[in-house]
Symmetry: D3
Subunit: 144 residues, 6 copies
């Protein structure tokens, strides 16, 4: 088990975008739309949880390097039968920020679940994936 050596890699600008979906009942989406969740502002809580999780990724994922994040943005968009969660993370560092973007999406999605579970406990977090990355030795990538 080891955290692989990135000491020889140059510090370059790197971006990662990840996305996911929280599928939910019409009733849960209605609560979201009308802002009437018992615990408060679901979308604000989810965005903040996502941003804070991005910063703590190396504490959650055993072999992740600590990275100097230069920006994190988490957006949630209400769709017909789900909330779309999206995170964009940037750094100027020796290693990429895919895990930070995925961790932000996961934490934001879990927060949506937590704040609406009294309405709908059958919600499903789906399609958590890397959408795009730029920078770094392994090259750019955009999901087909």
């Amino acid at each position: 088990m080891k955290m692989v050596d990135v000491g020889d890699k140059p510090k370059t600008e790197r971006v990662a975008v990840a996305a996911g979906a929280v599928r939910m009942s019409a009733a849960a989406l209605r609560v979201l739309r009308t802002g009437r969740a018992e615990k408060g502002d679901v979308l604000a809580a989810a965005r903040i949880a996502g941003i804070m999780a991005a910063k703590r990724t190396p504490e959650l994922i055993p072999l992740c390097h600590p990275v100097a994040l230069s920006s994190v943005e988490v957006t949630l968009t209400l769709r017909r039968a789900h909330v779309e969660v999206r995170a964009e993370v940037k750094t100027v560092d020796r290693t990429g920020v895919e895990m930070e973007a995925l961790a932000a999406v996961s934490a934001a999605s879990l927060t949506v679940y937590d704040m609406l579970k009294s309405v709908d406990r059958t919600m499903v977090i789906d399609a958590v994936q890397l959408v795009h990355k730029r920078g770094g030795r392994s090259g750019d990538y955009t999901r087909a």
Copy 2:
């Protein structure tokens, strides 16, 4: 925004089981099966990440209560085109452990992603959901 008051609820035994899937390429599954991931033992790292995330759930999910966990078990099973991740969490406390089980599944899945992403960056974390809960005022639940 508030962490709802659970002070009047009795301490009772509560169990939650959550599950999820990390869908991946045949090549990534082969690396898993043969234990040849560059970063080391993927399944052990994922199990530990899941257990540790369960314990830190209230730090990740803004309105979660701190809960005295009495057990956490995370299992990963290799399937045809995915790794099945499953977490069972127990407590004797005033509130349930659904979020702890879901957080464990998420962190274990992200760890699988992290340790295999050099082989397959198209992996998708899917179907993260509550499978079963027992105990507490809202009653038992088993996913259909």
Copy 3:
């Protein structure tokens, strides 16, 4: 240096309310009122930061005991020349939650500062104090 022994004290219901004020310029208050802070929703971020800090009080204050919080509520109210920050914390445990309430007020106040400092860096956090406590051996207290 020691974390004093509370093992002999009974678990009883305890409440603490703390308050504080973030004094700021008219310009900063206007940004708050109109919800136009560059970094986003100041009040939501401050409330969440306060709640999360309450949960992490024993990590911040060296000799604080870990306490099983049963509820945390943080409210921010816009006044003429300041934002009033108030936190109410409850537990059923062997020791009080004054520090949790004060930590919540401090973190919420710092977050207000952080999100408005590009508008007004002269803001002052003032009058952080215990307003009320109930339960526990030392008896009830309400600030005069």
Copy 4:
């Protein structure tokens, strides 16, 4: 909600000094002066709590960037009716350390409160503010 992008800003030396006051009764100050607090060395605990909080600022303040701190110093000075708390934080990074200095002052002040609250629970944390900053795009600043 977003952690604003600092990736284009150059790494420069930055300093921030913050201060605050813990106002307390003559009895509490006497306990401090004579070093007879039941919980132990108040000033040492407060200094350490301040330094450790500076390092954890991005975990406490939702939209703060992680910053590579190059030094932190926390000093406490006994005055006639209060303890003066002061923190100086330095970095060579893309963003300033005002929040780190303010967080250090807040945590040190809360620790003073915690260690003396059995003597005086009416203590007030006051005048937590930025005293000075140097470096960075927004220029230098010294409180009037």
Copy 5:
């Protein structure tokens, strides 16, 4: 891998005492004795580090249960060629606090090392062990 189930065990009073030694040069011990370490008060910093580590044991040791600590005390005693570090931890809970006591000793010892390493980098942390435990199903134990 699993955090074993302690949900059926009764909550009982439990105590654990651990000890260790930081062996060092005469020069390093002299700096300690005269309180002239460049970084400040070594013994106060070590005691606080030990107490804080006890509280965070379940975050450090993967399969440790979170435990409601009722007291922690860390003492350091200067001996002829070493500093003796000792931690006593108590709880009223379903599982013991041996790991908390050992973690406190380790963190306090590492802090001594950190604060004196500019004087003596050959210091050795030795004999970290459980000295005594009381309470719990496995019975009492005192090291021979």
Copy 6:
């Protein structure tokens, strides 16, 4: 008390290697060798705990600087009457990583203890020390 200023030091490559030993009974070593510990894979858990502790060193040791780790490797080797624990940590930063390597060894050793304590509670963690360091103003060092 202060975190000393490293802002003027250049960022250079730095390596630290630390080691330690967990002395244990023949019975405990046998459980390790045959992989039959009740809690699961001891060596994997210990390696991960060590790596994760290295990343959190500045949270554990009060005056440690946050450091951008570029690699961490923890190895455990079964000897005749003990497990040898070894950690190598690298960075390209303004300060060394001795404390990170020592913290990794301590956390890995504590994890071995935790996972085998039901078999042998007399285990002793011994000889935790710096083996080698390279880079930085104070020069290279190899333990005699």
